[in-house]
């Protein structure tokens, strides 16, 4: 029983990261109407900039700031592509473009980072924060959960209470009408992308040492991120937050059970499938009647 609890708690740090990525996915979708497949890859780019600087001997604080800035810059560049050439495209076209960009980023990222070549990932926060029912909760877990909660709360407050938040909501609902009342649509959209890139990069820096630290594995964290966003129906930040944490905990539990540990990677897919089936329950019920 204690080993299961240990596994579940171990899943919290990954869950925190999934929650941040999921909230960022909703942030992107709600504000610039893009289902973004590149979120985790952008974070991976920022993370590997941090690692490269760390391996070159720069102080960790400098590495982290530079990595976050690189993630923000990469996201802004993708945002520039989306707002310049695909602003008027359908949601499915935009999603397809980001999926294509994901493949491209992974290919370039693997080339630049040496594929499976091992890197020296620094632990931004190391050690134990406290013990819960006899199980150690790491500082990384506490930090990722704190960031995900803080980002969710701040985003909700920002959108509800600030003029820029109002403008972002207007932009997300009717981009052309927003432009026709003088809102700087492109600038705001690029800000959304930059914030998403910065937050994602920092979250992945925290959990990268706990994962398979190669560019592809980190980039494919987009799967649990989108699963968390789906739990939030791409609208609710809070549901995505809870969903991301839940997926992390379930993954942790699965890794503690011999029969399931080799299938833990499939858990986000199972969650996606379950949410999609659940979302169709009304139609099936009507059909059955």
């Amino acid at each position: 029983m204690n080993s299961l609890l240990t596994s579940a708690v171990a899943g919290l740090s990954a869950g925190g990261a999934y929650a941040i990525l999921g909230v960022c996915a909703i942030f992107n979708y709600r504000l610039v109407a893009v289902v973004n497949f590149t979120g985790a890859a952008i974070g991976a780019a920022g993370t590997f900039v941090m690692v490269a600087l760390y391996e070159a001997g720069f102080p960790l604080a400098v590495d982290v700031v530079a990595g976050v800035a690189a993630g923000a810059l990469a996201a802004t560049l993708i945002g520039l592509v989306m707002t310049t050439w695909f602003a008027g495209s359908s949601a499915s076209t935009k999603a397809a473009v980001t999926a294509a960009l994901l493949v491209g980023i992974i290919a370039v990222g693997l080339r630049l980072t040496g594929g499976q070549h091992p890197h020296n990932f620094p632990e931004i926060v190391a050690g134990s924060a406290f013990r819960l029912a006899g199980v150690e909760v790491t500082r990384a877990s506490v930090l990722t959960i704190a960031i995900s909660v803080l980002f969710t709360v701040l985003t909700e407050m920002f959108l509800a209470r600030t003029r820029m938040g109002l403008q972002l909501r207007a932009l997300s609902q009717r981009p052309m009408a927003a432009e026709l009342i003088g809102i700087r649509v492109k600038l705001l959209a690029l800000c959304v992308w930059a914030v998403m890139g910065a937050v994602t990069s920092f979250a992945l820096m925290v959990i990268a040492p706990l994962r398979s630290p190669d560019f592809m594995s980190i980039s494919l964290l987009v799967v649990p991120a989108l699963a968390a966003a789906l739990i939030g129906a791409f609208t609710s930040f809070r549901a995505a937050l809870v969903g991301g944490l839940m997926i992390g905990v379930i993954e942790g539990l699965a890794s503690g059970l011999d029969a399931f540990s080799q299938y833990r990677g499939a858990i986000p897919f199972v969650v996606i499938l379950a949410v999609l089936l659940w979302s169709q329950r009304g139609a099936r019920w009507d059909e059955a009647r």
Partner: protein
């Protein structure tokens, strides 16, 4: 005072010329009514002027050229386009719809003074308002942006006559406050009743440029302007 001067405006849709070299003027305190049958190029004219679709020709707003500027820049320069279809931000409340467009020198009171009906609906999501209320909201939203020129497209579409009359008096108030208004409208009689200057478009060209009162007094001529030689033939 002339606030908007347009010369030789040409607008294409999918490579097909829809607006073919029209001249138009909007003056402070006046309503310029743009009339014409379906497909005459009225909406396309406004979309070309506001920058929604590319256009060529001279567009001068308050003595500064805005031709080639983006839609956002034109809006910030003082040209507001109230699109047809009541483009409220549906998930935001009435008051939030107004706040998002509020110019630093304007107040929400101006919007509520123009359309007091909106006061009681200030906390209701705009998507839940009636069609007439939504139309009032988008006009009021344009007003609080403190524009120099407001262009309103087909505001009466699908609304009850009593609501249309209410909107028409609201638009007249805007002009009386010193703005220049360009009003595109299918209901010619109503529009001519509140307008000062009329433009009748046919196949993308201006076939009448003159006073509203003069045209309102001569329905036969208006009919002919709408339909062209087909009236004679008929």
């Amino acid at each position: 005072m002339t606030l908007l001067e347009v010369k030789g405006l040409i607008v294409n849709r999918s490579g097909v010329p829809v607006v073919r070299g029209i001249d138009l003027v909007a003056r402070s305190g006046e309503i310029s009514v743009v009339l014409g049958s379906n497909g005459a190029g009225k909406t396309t004219t406004l979309e070309g002027l506001s920058g929604i679709i590319p256009a060529s020709g001279e567009i001068v707003l308050d003595n500064a050229s805005i031709a080639g500027a983006s839609a956002g820049k034109r809006a910030r320069a003082g040209l507001r386009h109230v699109e047809q279809g009541r483009t409220v931000f549906p998930e935001m409340t009435t008051e939030e719809n107004l706040k998002v467009a509020l110019h630093p020198d304007a107040s929400l009171g101006e919007a509520y003074e123009l359309f007091p009906e909106l006061v009681q609906r200030r906390d209701v999501k705009a998507g839940m308002l009636s069609g007439g209320e939504q139309q009032m909201l988008v006009i009021a939203r344009a007003l609080v942006g403190r524009p120099k020129v407001i262009m309103v497209d087909e505001m009466s579409s699908g609304l009850a006559p009593v609501v249309v009359n209410r909107l028409m008096s609201g638009v007249r108030k805007l002009a009386d406050g010193g703005m220049a208004v360009v009003l595109v409208e299918q209901f010619a009689t109503l529009a001519l009743g509140i307008g000062d200057r009329a433009y009748v478009l046919r196949r993308g060209q201006v076939v009448y440029d003159g006073g509203c009162a003069e045209l309102a007094r001569d329905p036969k001529r208006l009919h002919h302007l709408y339909l062209g030689d087909s009236v004679q033939a008929g």
